[in-house]
């Protein structure tokens, strides 16, 4: 099912608007690109907000790597049950059709290519789809990886949700990542406040959407990356 969307989205012609997307608008764009009936893992933090825009009619099933398919909104009040949490250790609820399984099955499900889409945050992504999102390589920092490396390479499609530039204005789309890698050639799309970009092993980045950034500015900020407008 996700392959169908990929094709449909790929033929979308380039479009642009004058202002960057808000986080909610970006979450909505990603949700719209997820095909009905998909099995999806949303990473901890910002990617979680995509679930706010997945309508029940779409019948998208959410996976959490600590062993559950079919979890619902965050639990409140009486619903809170410490045996029912997501990978971010947030209490969640159970939807009809939910299932539980152990950790090895949960990651086998991911690694085995059964999940359609995984949405993750990133420090850096390379033009060929390398992902860096687990460590900034700061000396003396205590390393922690969790499920990041498994998630990065597991799903049929790995989408990154991030700002195109850091708060300091540094670029996060690189010719090659300078931070330690989480996975090699694993990211197929970048959804960011200023651009929706389709990646492929050739390293030529297809620009589907620009928001508050012109194609020329995008090229200027990334002189070592080759861009092409979608549908061009």
């Amino acid at each position: 099912m996700s392959e169908q969307t990929t094709e449909a989205a790929d033929v979308q012609a380039f479009r642009s608007t004058d202002t960057p997307l808000t986080q909610d608008e970006l979450a909505r764009v990603i949700a719209e690109d997820i095909a009905p009936g998909s099995f999806v893992n949303l990473g901890i933090g910002q990617p979680t907000t995509v679930s706010n825009y997945l309508s029940p009619e779409k019948k998208v099933t959410l996976h959490t790597e600590n062993g559950m398919l079919g979890f619902g909104p965050e639990a409140t009040g009486d619903q809170v049950d410490e045996d029912l949490i997501n990978a971010g250790k947030i209490p969640v609820t159970e939807l009809p059709g939910a299932s539980y399984f152990h950790h090895a099955d949960s990651f086998a499900m991911m690694r085995g290519g059964h999940l359609d889409v995984c949405v993750l945050g990133a420090y850096q992504v390379s033009a060929t789809g390398d992902l860096a999102n687990w460590s900034t390589g700061k000396p003396g920092a205590i390393p922690a990886v969790g499920g990041a490396m498994d998630l990065a390479i597991g799903a049929k499609d790995t989408y990154v949700m991030m700002d195109l530039f850091t708060k300091k204005g540094d670029r996060k789309l690189m010719a090659e990542c300078t931070f330690p890698l989480t996975g090699v050639g694993c990211v197929s799309r970048i959804y960011s406040d200023r651009a929706v970009l389709l990646l492929d092993p050739s390293g030529v980045v297809t620009v589907r959407e620009l928001h508050g950034l012109t194609f020329e500015e995008l090229q200027e900020r990334h002189p070592d990356v080759r861009f092409e407008k979608a549908g061009a």
Partner: protein
């Protein structure tokens, strides 16, 4: 030989200095807190511990680390906002850390339990965590050779055990439990309910063959459902699952 014991202290009494101990749980869900506390009280030291994390706040595994009982930890995510005891031990060079991606951690234990000598995983290929490991290209894709992780003991929390040691879990508290149960030479389980009747064989998650020691410790998991079920069962000739109430178990303790 399967044994049912009355206290957490008895349950962990075989664990000796230098043992490798697999400890279940993801966050608080499925964490065998009372068994970890008993391990702490037992004085066993020089342990190698396998857990997803490296202890939180001032409880359970964090205290074992604080008291320097853990020589080495194998985990995926040691650094948390409240992992101060691990952070201190690590910075002081007083604990060895083997960092393993979460899925590889689970699969390495699965391999141990299944008698697999090693496996090629795509996770971690091309990253720092694969440095020094054998890499192989299979059908155009790259994989890294990973080895099994075996435990001398596993400490896990399940929801209920029947008289045959068959286990069921509750919701996401299942997490590492079933895999760790297979990967240890001796598996010690704490359960909220010790059942008098066998579980429905179709419902068993961990078959009793993997279970060695069971101790009943009510922790409050699923209390509401249990009360509802007991109220229902009171109207039937034969209860469908538990016959001991949490209060009776507590009295027994």
């Amino acid at each position: 030989m399967l044994e049912f014991v009355d206290t957490a202290a008895e349950a962990v009494s075989r664990i000796t200095d230098g043992a490798t101990v697999l400890i279940g749980g993801f966050g608080n869900a499925g964490q065998p807190m009372e068994l970890i506390d008993a391990l702490m009280d037992s004085g066993a030291t020089g342990l190698t511990v396998v857990n997803n994390n490296a202890g939180q706040a001032d409880a359970g595994l964090a205290l074992l680390i604080k008291e320097r009982r853990v020589a080495k930890i194998i985990c995926s995510f040691p650094r948390q906002s409240d992992s101060w005891h691990f952070d201190e031990a690590y910075r002081a060079g007083e604990i060895e850390l083997e960092l393993v991606p979460q899925g590889n951690l689970a699969e390495r234990m699965r391999a141990a339990g299944a008698g697999i000598g090693g496996f090629f995983s795509p996770t971690g290929y091309g990253t720092q965590l694969a440095e020094g490991k054998e890499v192989r290209e299979i059908d155009g894709k790259h994989y890294v050779l990973e080895s099994p992780i075996r435990g001398d003991f596993a400490l896990i929390k399940a929801y209920a055990a029947d008289p045959y040691g068959n286990l069921v879990y509750r919701k996401t508290a299942r997490n590492f439990g079933p895999v760790m149960a297979t990967a240890a030479a001796h598996t010690i389980v704490q359960v909220d309910e010790v059942l008098d009747e066998p579980l429905n064989p179709e419902h068993v998650v961990t078959p009793g063959i993997y279970v060695d020691t069971v101790v009943g410790i009510p922790t409050g998991s699923g209390v509401k459902e249990r009360e509802e079920r007991e109220a229902l069962a009171a109207g039937r000739s034969k209860p469908c699952m538990a016959t001991k109430t949490a209060a009776e178990l507590a009295a027994q303790k």
